[in-house]
Every structure is written in C-alpha cells, then in structure tokens.
Chain length 595, copies 2
C-alpha cells in the first residue's frame, strides 16, 4: 500500500500496488480528464510525478506523451502505478473544472497585437543593384528598427531561401527573421503573478484567441506565504533568487504549454504580466524595501517593457515582456487590469469592483474619478488556512445548504463525485448557513450542537460530512480566520464608500473578481458581510478579471496605452493610514446583520 | 647571447645577458620613451613580452607598472634583461615617433557627444509623495528611456546616496546610474579597423579631447593578410571566430588604454568603428560572402548602432557601438570617414582624396557629386612585402636622397639613430632617386651599377646602406611590387578623373591620407606616378583621415547623421568592371614620365 499525496488538492490517498493512479484518484473523487476510459488511447489523463517512484513508462506512454513532457515528469494516470511507499503526484490545473482558469465573462476587444508578421519576397542582388540586404528589407518594412540579433539573421535567411523570408516585428523593432514557411505562427502569453499562484494564458496572436492555459504554485511560496514576509525576505542578496523563482514559475507554465501545444519557444513573442506591486517588483528584480514601510514608494510604477532575454524567460529572446503599471505600493497592476477589464472608469454611476484574494483590491468609480484601496485579507477564501479547505478543483464541496436545525441539507462537489475537501464558495455557504441556524453565534463562537464536537486541540469543530479521504470538519479556528478575512474586506469597501460619501444603495454595479469565479452564492456572501448588500441584478461575477486585463494588454497594444492613461486617473486611498480603520474593522468582525 | 625579436618592427637583435633591453634596443637605434635615462623612475619605457623569458620584475617595476599591465606582459625596458635563448618583445606602438598615430591636420569640430551626464538631487519619498523612484528620475530627465539594466540600478543607487545620483544617457536612453561622485567621467573610443592594424583613439567625451591611443595588429591576420582571403575564410562556421578575433583586437587596445589611464571599462560609453566593408562585416559578425563575388552586395550598408554587450566589447555593456555606413561592397566606412574628415563633398571645385593603404580608396568631388572608387594596391607602401621594409617607427629610413650617379647622398632615420630598415616614405624617395639616376630603367628593370649586385636568388639588388642589424638592400622584386602598387593607384585616380571628364590641372585640392602621414616627399611621389602631378600648394597630407572621421562621429553625434546623408550622395565607380582598367593599368606600370 502506497501513500499518494495529490497536489494541488492537498489530499492523501492509499493506493495498492496493483491499482493505476487513475483508478485510485477516481475512487476518492478526483477526476482526471479521460475520454478513452483508461485504454491509453486518448493521452489526456496527464499527471506529474513530484516525489517517490512510479512504475516505468509503458509503451503506450512512450507513444502518447511527448518526450519533453516525459522529461518533466508527466505520466498517464491510466498507465502509472505506485512503485515506492510514498509518492506525490500533481494533477493538471487545467484539467476538468479548475475554475481559476475558466473564461471570464469579460471580453478582450478586437486583436491589435504588438507583434506583426509579414512574409515577403525581396529583389535579389543583380548587376546594377548592389543594395545591401538591409536596404532590401527596409524597402519592404519601411522604418523598421533592426536590433543586432535580427541584423545577424537577415543575410543567411535571405540567401538560403531565395530572398524570401518571414519577418516578425514587435512595434517597430524587427525581432525575428525566419524561412517563409514560418508564416502565420505567433504566440503570446498573458501572465497573472499572484502571491500564491502564477497563471499563464497562451494566445494565438494572429487570431487573437486563447488556446490553452496553465497554472503553477508561485515558487516564491518558500520565501513566505504573504506579501509582507516576501518583501522582508527580499534583501539585496536574496533579490536575484526571488526574481529567479518568479521567472522559473512562468517558465514552468510556458514549458508545459509548449509541450502540450507543440510550440517552439522562439515563436512566443510577447508576454504581458500583471500582479500586485510586490510581485511586480520581485519578478522584475527590483528592490521591494520601499513597499515595506511608509510612504510605500515603489521603485517603478510606470509601464515597463523589457526583452525576453533580460528576464531569462523561455521565449524569443528579442520578444517583449510588458508589465502594465502598478497603481501604488499596495495596489498592483492586477488591480489596474481589473479596472480595465471591467471598464469601471467609464461607468456613469457609482460602481465598485472587488478582487478577492490574499490581498483584496477594491476600486470605486464616482463622477469619473476612480479611487482604489487594498486590504490584507489572507487566503482563507481561496481555501488556504482552512482545516479541510482546498482549491476549486474536482472533489471540492462548492455548494452547501445548512437547514434551520444546523444540519447539512445539501452538498455539491465540483465534478459531482464524493467530497474530499471544501473550497471557497462552499466555505461561504457553510459559514452563512451555520450563522443563520445559530450554530455560530453573532460573535463567531461555535455553540453546542449535535454536530459540534471537541477536536484534538480541545477547540470546537463542526463535522460536515465524510468522504473517501476521511471526515470533513469546519473548526472554530476556521471561523476566526474567515471573520478576519471578511472583516478586512468589508471594512475596505465600507470605508471606501464612506470616504466618498456614497451609500451602498447608490451603487449601480458591483463587479466581483477573484478565485471564486462565477460560483459564489451572492446571498450567502452578503449574509456574512463579505459583499455589500445590493440587489442581485447589480452584481456581476467576473472571474479572473486581472487575467483578462493582462489578456487585453496582450492582444491589443493600444490597451497598454489606455491602461497607462487610466492609471494616471486613479487615486489611491491608504487604509492603513486611516484612523477609522481599526474601529471599523473591529465593528465588522461579527455577524450582526445576518437575517 | 639571446636573439631578441622586436615587434612590430620586425628586426632581431643580439643581446648579452648582462644588457638591459633598453640598452640593447638603443644600440640598434630603436627608441623607447624614457625621460629618466634608465633609472626606473619615469616608468615610460614599457615593452611587452611576447615569447620566451625575461628576468623577473624588479622592485622598481612592481612599483611603477600597474598590476593589470604587468599581467598583460608589460615590462620596463630599463629593468628587464633576457632570460632565455630566444625572446620576442613588442615595443609600444604609441611610443616615440610612430607616425600612424600622429595627430591629423584635420580637426574634429565642436564636441556634441551621444553621451550626456547629469548629477541630480531628487526629492526623497515622503508622506504625501509616494511617487515611484522612476517617476522621480523622469521628473529630472524628461522623456528618458530606461532599459532594463538602468531600471535595476536606479533604486539602490538612489537609496544608498541620499537620493542623489549621476545619470548617463546615450541619446535618450539611460545607460548608467552611479553615485554622485562619478560626475564628469565619460570616455569614448574611435576605432579604425584596418585589414592589418586596429587603432583605437581614447577620448574624454566631456572635454571632447583625445587623451591616448593604442594600436595592435589585427588578430584576423592569421586568417589571411588581405581582404579577399579573409572573405574566403569567413564560412558560416568560421564567421564567429573572425568576429571574435576583430573584437579581441579592439579589446586589446582598450585594455592597454584602461590600464595606462586608470579608467574603468564601465566608463567607456561610446565607440565608433570605421573600416573597409569586409572588416565592417566581419567585426559585426555579418556574412561577407556577398562581398566576394559580383554584384558585391553587402549584408548591411546602413549606419548601425549596437550595444557594447552585443559585441562583447570590454566597455559599459549598455553603451553604444556605432558603425558609420560602408559606401559599397569594396568601399568601406573608412572611405566615408576620409570624405567626411576632409570635407571633400563641400568643395566647389574638383578635388580628390586618396587614402593609400592595402586597399586604396579614391574619391573625387565635382559639381557637388562625390564619386568614389577603390583599388587593391597591396601593402608595399606601408613597408610590408619589401625586403627590408618596416613600419614608420624609430630606426626606419624615412628620407633618402640619391645623387645623379645613383649613390645615396643622404639618409634620415626616424629618431635620428642608425638605420634598421626602410619605411614607406623612404621607399618612395629611393625608388624615385634610382629611376632618376637611371639605376632603375623606365620599364622598372635594375641596370648594372656599382651598388647593384646579384642577390642570393640570382636577381639584382641595390645595396643602400648597412646598420646595426646588417645590410639594407632594395631588390628587383621590391621594385616590381612597388610598380604594381603605384600602377593600381595611378590607374585608379586617372580613370576616375577620366570618367568625369576632368583633367589633372582642373584639380583644386588633392588630399593624401594613409600611413605615410605627413612625411611623403611630394615630388618623388609624383615622379613615380603615385600621385597626380599637381602644384605642391594644392596637395594636403592629412595622415589617418579615416581615424579622424571616426573621431568626428565619436565626439559629435550630429556628424553621424551627416555621414549617413553624405553616403547617400556618393556614387561608386566599379573599376574591376571597367573594360579600360587592364589597359590603363598596363600603361601605368612604367616610369615614362620621370624627368
């Protein structure tokens, strides 16, 4: 019997040696994509070996799994069986119903990428025409700037291909010269660097279409789970290490995307990166000390475009990596991306956008002015720091209904299988249900109840259900964590509204972005005071709007300029410096308003 | 007794173990600079050990010779004695009377470098002013472009120096951020890459003044002595090797200049490079095949500016390396530099510029149009391929007067010491004297004469004199080499004049550039038909005008634009494709016109 630890879900499954990983995972409700019922013909059930050993790759795998993926540890779950006493495997983030990667409701606009390609036939040299190769290129690509690398490529490609070539420009700069057969292939990636997760969306820049996505845990997690501890760790000596970790995370995503889509890194010409200001600084290798103390001055808060080679990204070295500008020391380019993606600034009546994450950013537009604030809300609503919390992947309890006696009346898991944990939207439902039924009192204390018992450490815990990996409980500590998180968020939006003299009823739209995707139960979120009590029709769940903003900047170079202009219109409201904050926060920790 | 081979002069000196190299070199007439009469206090008599061994450095040397120079093999000639049976040493190219580095008569114009520096005090962050570091910089350096490297440097330098820093721009690009103490230090180098020699002139860009110069043999010499053989060697596989050799030559010069002047490579911000088109292509790493066959199309004939890091030059990696445009496949940016330095294009009456070298370029302005041609003249007039030829350094016979009986009436050596060989200007005097006195007949044959004897290979040789390293003779073969060289050059200027319908008498100015410096005897050069027979007052010897053109481009960025515009006005006359060339060449080999 082998203990198989399944990442990123965070559960352990007992697997006999005779059982394939696909069967074992299915047994506990973890779906891996699979359209051939385990016969090994579809090649979709990819999992990655982390630690320990699996049986050697079968002939089916050698045939179905590209070598690059195999080298990176990817296996077919229907073929591999455990071969050591402890094994850790990772299931694909993009597989199945992983919500963080679902398409947002927001759309990108029409493509107008920074990268343009043209295949051209040039006049060959002849007696009477001894123009240089470069002059011939300039005659076709008027005003093109030729950096050194392209200068070196031009003569050989032209002379080996009968004076025909495919030229790729990034703005006015010539960044690639290839054989004419290479026409029509140009890719880009929009990257959202979160404190805990890095997501890369792969786009076909010619068609302006998303073709794949991949996410990994931010490798900087080993330097601290939150922004503050990571800033503290980013000493001048450690700074290159943190930068390398962020870039390695991006490269991990890209490597999988390349292997899966059969794309050469050379053809990834453009990358846009959004993130909070600390992630922005650390990924660029900029010092982040300024972000750690008042007045929280960032090192750079402008739009920055560097070359792929500057950052060591696994892409065309002359391609561009564009960072939209952060808004302030504590409000990053991800918040700017959310404001751009929701088109908040163009709303005529007061509207709010809330991006819930480890840091929660809140933006309000009123009279054409955008004011933004941020609060440290912790990762509880993303399923971290909750006893049986997990991310929103297959097997997670995503919906909970608690009856008036405080018992679970309905549970729904992502994928419909047996429950192995509970994700953010389920946690909100559960907390709201327990408060409504009185199992959790207005102060947040768990009261005596048939389903409430004393846990190992003597504190109360509510037994929700049990699944293939054991009981799923919700503890007093979980409740306290959620109180702190929702208290910070509610203080944020309420102080922001108050500072501009706007009442909740004045809000015409509330955009809710973040890991919840479109799956949050609004009434429950409002019941626990996480979201402002506006009528349902005024609330729009927009999923990963920061990612959409990065995508907009990727496929439309004009959106970059719009975002830079937008940033100049945004005012930052510093909550940490607001004397009302602690009072308001304390007043917002309970559940007084729950009806 | 040790055999000491002296580079770049090319003579061998017998030196007893007890003798210092300074004494030995002085004995045969090779001057090394020395103002302390060998006491070791001035530190000027630097020589470099090539092969073999010298006595270990003395305490005087350890004190006087910077470690970097010592590591590169530099010694004091007044201290070092031979310590192995064969030794090769190199005397400094800049020492004494090395003409190739003498100042030209042309001047550079007023400085207006690409590089500008400013030391500024920025507002520190404060409550109410959380602008980014980059915004603070932009407030002082309006519109500056910040590449990635500078972006990384800004925050640390500002925060470690009380928000003061010295900023260096290359055009609009910020290329260096330093402590405020670094103000006022900015250097540049103008480089002339010749087929056989690389010369670097070091400039203080702040003052616009030349402060030093250094020359080395072009390390590409091992790939062939002339342009054609080097083009043939530059296969796609060997191309990076040839590029690396050219760059190593530039770096050798720079390394010596840095050590001698105590300059950090970081502070060399700008380099301009001129050369013939093959040297231009090979230094940039561009394929040169196109230059080897009709229609001789170059890969690039535009002005090109790359970063120091692109070429691996030992300088500020973000600094610029500017290559003015070549004119055509066989007429390089060195010719453009000569035309710019002589201001030929602005002459109202027909004027000629001749740059005599291994390749000789000839430019004619008439009615505001500049026509240029080139001919392969070989290195005979630079002292190569002449039996006792040598470069124009101390010990070279630079002036010769032959009496009407064909005997040497007067010999003058550079430095005034005993003769060890004969340089270009001396060769011209000697040949003209022998022709005038009839020792060489109009067909170029050496006739019977008391000073003419049969040499080892049975052909005639004229015994000119003898010096400390033995007899100095001038052979029939030397005469033939010079006939070919002067024939090619004379055919060049005469066909160029003829093609535009201009007579020699119409020429208002003839500029003579090249290794001769200002030391050529005009009457003798005209007597052997090397230069057109115009009155003395119309001839201007301008020394290394190509180097001056590179210097102009270095210290005045506007000169780069002027040179690019100038190039567009120049017409190239292809002599190799001219059916009259062979006839004219044959007719120009003799000495018919000598009176």
């Amino acid at each position: 019997m082998t203990q198989v630890f399944v990442e990123p879900i965070g559960v352990t499954v007992e697997v006999p040696e005779s059982e394939t990983l696909m069967d074992a995972l299915a047994r506990v409700g973890i779906d891996v994509p699979n359209v051939c019922a385990g016969r090994g013909t579809c090649g979709k059930c990819l999992i990655r070996l982390g630690a320990g050993e699996l049986t050697p790759p079968t002939e089916v795998e050698l045939r179905k799994v590209p070598e690059k993926l195999r080298d990176a540890g990817w296996r077919l779950a229907c073929q591999a069986r455990p071969a050591s006493s402890r094994v850790s495997v990772e299931v694909r983030e993009t597989s199945g119903r992983r919500r963080i990667l679902t398409t947002s409701r927001l759309h990108h606009g029409r493509p107008h990428p920074a990268v343009t390609r043209v295949t051209a036939a040039l006049d060959p040299p002849a007696l009477g025409d001894a123009r240089s190769d470069l002059e011939r290129v300039q005659a076709v690509l008027h005003g093109v700037e030729v950096p050194y690398q392209a200068l070196l490529e031009i003569p050989d490609v032209l002379r080996e291909n009968g004076w025909r070539a495919t030229f790729t420009r990034y703005g006015r700069r010539l960044i690639d010269v290839e054989t004419p057969e290479a026409a029509g292939v140009a890719y880009g990636a929009a990257v959202d660097i979160g404190t805990s997760k890095i997501i890369a969306y792969l786009f076909d820049l010619v068609r302006g279409e998303q073709i794949d996505a991949e996410a990994v845990e931010n490798p900087q997690m080993r330097y601290g789970e939150d922004v503050v501890s990571r800033i503290a760790r980013a000493t001048p000596e450690a700074r290159p290490e943190l930068a390398a970790a962020a870039r390695a995370g991006i490269n991990q995503c890209l490597g999988v995307l390349y292997a899966r889509q059969g794309i050469a890194p050379r053809h990834l010409y453009d990358v846009t990166v959004v993130g909070n200001t600390a992630m922005h600084h650390l990924a660029l290798g900029l010092p982040a000390q300024g972000l750690g103390a008042a007045p929280y001055a960032p090192a750079a808060a402008e739009a920055v475009t560097v070359r792929g080679a500057d950052l060591g990204l696994d892409m065309n070295p002359e391609g561009g990596v564009h960072f939209p500008p952060p808004i302030a020391g504590f409000v990053g380019s991800d918040a700017l991306a959310v404001i751009a993606a929701t088109r908040l600034a163009s709303k005529r009546r007061p509207s709010l956008a809330i991006d819930i994450g480890t840091n929660t950013e809140i933006a309000l537009v009123h009279d054409g002015r955008v004011t933004v604030t941020s609060c440290a809300s912790g990762p509880a609503f993303e399923g971290y720091q909750i006893t049986h919390g997990m991310k929103a992947v297959a097997g997670a309890i995503e919906k909970v209904r608690i009856d008036h006696e405080g018992r679970p009346a309905h549970l729904a898991t992502i994928g419909g299988g047996q429950p192995i944990g509970i994700c953010g939207s389920g946690v909100v439902d559960l907390l709201a249900g327990l408060v409504r039924s009185g199992v959790v009192d207005p102060s947040g204390r768990m009261v005596s109840h048939p389903l409430v018992r004393k846990g190992e450490n003597g504190s109360s815990e509510y037994v929700l259900t049990s699944g293939p990996v054991g009981e799923i409980v919700f503890t007093q500590h979980d409740v306290r964590n959620l109180q702190l998180a929702k208290g910070a968020i509610a203080t944020g939006w309420s102080l922001l509204l108050q500072s501009l003299g706007i009442g909740v009823d004045d809000l015409c739209r509330v955009y809710v972005a973040g890991a919840f995707g479109n799956y949050l139960d609004l009434a429950n979120a409002q019941a626990i005071d996480l979201l402002p009590p506006v009528p349902r029709e005024r609330v729009v769940f927009v999923g990963n709007a920061a990612g959409v903003g990065a995508q907009m900047a990727l496929i439309d170079v004009r959106a970059r300029r719009r975002m830079a202009r937008l940033r100049a219109r945004i005012t930052f409201l510093e909550l940490a410096g607001n004397s009302d904050f602690q009072d308001a926060f304390a007043a917002r920790l309970g559940f007084r308003d729950v009806g």
